[in-house]
């Protein structure tokens, strides 16, 4: 029995010859809060659709709860998974309470207590049709329907899309408490790096269909450092930095290096440059993200 709730091995998927996923590898441990980051079109939603069994991979394998995500096992996966779609579209002819009743009927572990709590917390009008809800309200209803399933795994595609800052904070607090109290695994995609930094314990940055950074957020923050070198005068020729210097940017006499390992060797190399003043800084998730997706 594997410890991973989600596993993707060399997942590839193309649309009309354009690669959306290009050998994606993922490992999501049970009970973790996993942030899935990437620019628009990086392949996040395609990966999520493959995990939910809506698409079939061209090659590679996606497994959820140890079962293949596509085919007959997807029903069992869906029974144990809460899902928020990217577009947040529900049945426009149903009311909020109609949607809750409808969804409830498919999930034996449905949590009436959570549904009631979120209905009040999100101030959702029970008798209003979903077509008449604002985008933010639809997002809140979608979250309610996903969380109240009593699921072991939540797959959330841009869950904060359309929510105001106060609602985002409420949502993040609830997700953290779900993960802590119930051991629910949460896999969510987002553009909002601040949100991810606030609740994720593991992240994956995906770019052009491949995972470019994966790991524990704390480890990544320790592992990555920014080294800033201010030189006496501009260098005549580019420096060949030691291994571990991921991205180097030079502007005049200032060289900024994002390093992922070998920090001490890198510092020594920088200090050996004539008249160099060297400093190191911790990095934010945003810096790691931007350096990786800009550089490619």
């Amino acid at each position: 029995m594997t410890d991973f709730v989600i596993e993707a091995n060399e997942l590839r998927k193309s649309y009309k010859g354009t690669a959306a996923l290009n050998g994606l590898n993922l490992r999501v441990r049970a009970g973790s809060v996993y942030g899935f980051l990437g620019r628009n079109g990086a392949g996040k939603t395609t990966a999520i659709k493959l995990l939910m069994g809506f698409l079939r991979a061209d090659s590679g394998e996606a497994r959820v709860f140890g079962m293949p995500s596509a085919g007959a096992t997807s029903i069992e996966i869906h029974r144990r998974t809460g899902f928020v779609t990217e577009d947040k579209q529900l049945y426009p002819y149903m009311t909020v309470e109609g949607m809750i009743r409808f969804t409830r009927s498919f999930f034996p572990k449905w949590r009436d207590d959570l549904a009631k709590r979120y209905l009040e917390m999100f101030e959702l009008p029970p008798r209003r049709k979903t077509a008449d809800l604002s985008k933010g309200m639809q997002s809140k209803l979608m979250l309610l329907l996903a969380i109240s399933r009593g699921a072991e795994l939540l797959i959330l595609d841009e869950p904060s899309d359309g929510l105001d800052p106060a609602a985002v904070q409420d949502m993040l607090r609830e997700l953290i408490s779900l993960a802590a109290a119930e051991g629910t695994t949460i896999f969510f995609s987002s553009h909002q790096l601040g949100e991810v930094e606030q609740i994720a314990d593991h992240i994956c940055i995906i770019d052009r269909g491949r995972a470019v950074v994966t790991g524990s957020l704390d480890d990544l923050k320790c592992q990555y450092q920014r080294v800033q070198v201010i030189l006496e005068r501009e260098l005549g020729a580019p420096v060949r930095w030691v291994e571990g210097a991921e991205y180097v940017r030079q502007e005049g006499r200032t060289v900024s290096i994002l390093a992922s390992r070998n920090i001490d060797a890198l510092l020594a190399q920088a200090e050996s440059l004539p008249g160099a003043s060297v400093e190191r800084f911790p990095v934010t998730l945003q810096e790691i993200f931007l350096e990786h997706v800009r550089a490619r």
Partner: protein, 228 residues
């Protein structure tokens, strides 16, 4: 609850088709008292409308709810929500199909027998048995068109599905217009209808059932393997 969801999605279409059928039947039975010639004319003319109604009845389901069609008026992109439920695609399609078929059956039987009973003039040239036989023939013969439309709806967007369905069936009708075989489904809805011949067109009905079964299985296969 899938039944409830499907009913909410189909109810206005059902009302529209019921009105269409009621109008057709009204015209047929109104002419029944004026002699067989008028029944032939009315039955023949309205045979086309039954085909159109059965094409319309089938054209809903998961394909019309994909996110890419959410901007189209009257449609919504809830397909991913539906697909995320712990229900097989076969069940989704099966419930939708059963509801569509039952809807057609109820409308045809009620409109046909109800109007026959309400119009004394109709009873002059036709029996209740003719009316019921006619309803049965219309229902079974229309199943072929229903399942053809159902298959098209999996591939085509709502506009092309309707026009494509009508065009394809129009071409079939044109190609078969001179074929006098008892297996010709089009003829069973028109000049070989039980209201006129007073016999049930079994060969045409079996043909329609066979076509329906093949189209149902083909659609099921496509839905189970299709990406959304």
């Amino acid at each position: 609850m899938l039944w409830y969801k499907n009913w909410l999605e189909m109810r206005w279409r059902t009302v529209f088709i019921a009105l269409l059928f009621a109008l057709q039947m009204f015209a047929v039975y109104r002419n029944a008292g004026n002699g067989t010639g008028n029944v032939v004319a009315a039955t023949g003319a309205f045979g086309y409308l039954w085909i159109i109604a059965s094409i319309m009845a089938a054209g809903t389901g998961i394909r019309t709810q994909s996110a890419s069609l959410a901007a189209v008026k009257g449609l919504h992109g809830s397909a991913y929500f539906t697909l995320s439920l712990p229900v097989s695609r076969a069940d989704l399609f099966g419930v939708r199909t059963i509801m569509g078929v039952v809807q057609m059956a109820v409308i045809i039987v009620l409109a046909n027998c109800g109007l026959w009973a309400l119009f004394p003039a109709a009873q002059a040239n036709t029996t209740l048995g003719d009316a019921m036989g006619y309803g049965l023939a219309v229902f079974v013969c229309c199943l072929g068109f229903y399942f053809f439309s159902s298959l098209l709806a999996v591939f085509l967007d709502p506009t092309w599905w309707l026009y494509g369905g009508l065009l394809a069936i129009g071409v079939c009708w044109w190609l078969l217009r001179g074929v006098q075989s008892a297996f010709n489904v089009f003829k069973a809805l028109q000049e070989r209808a039980p209201l006129i011949t007073h016999t049930i067109p079994w060969p045409a009905m079996f043909t329609s059932l066979a076509i329906s079964l093949i189209l149902f299985l083909a659609t099921l296969r496509v839905i189970q393997t299709r990406e959304f």
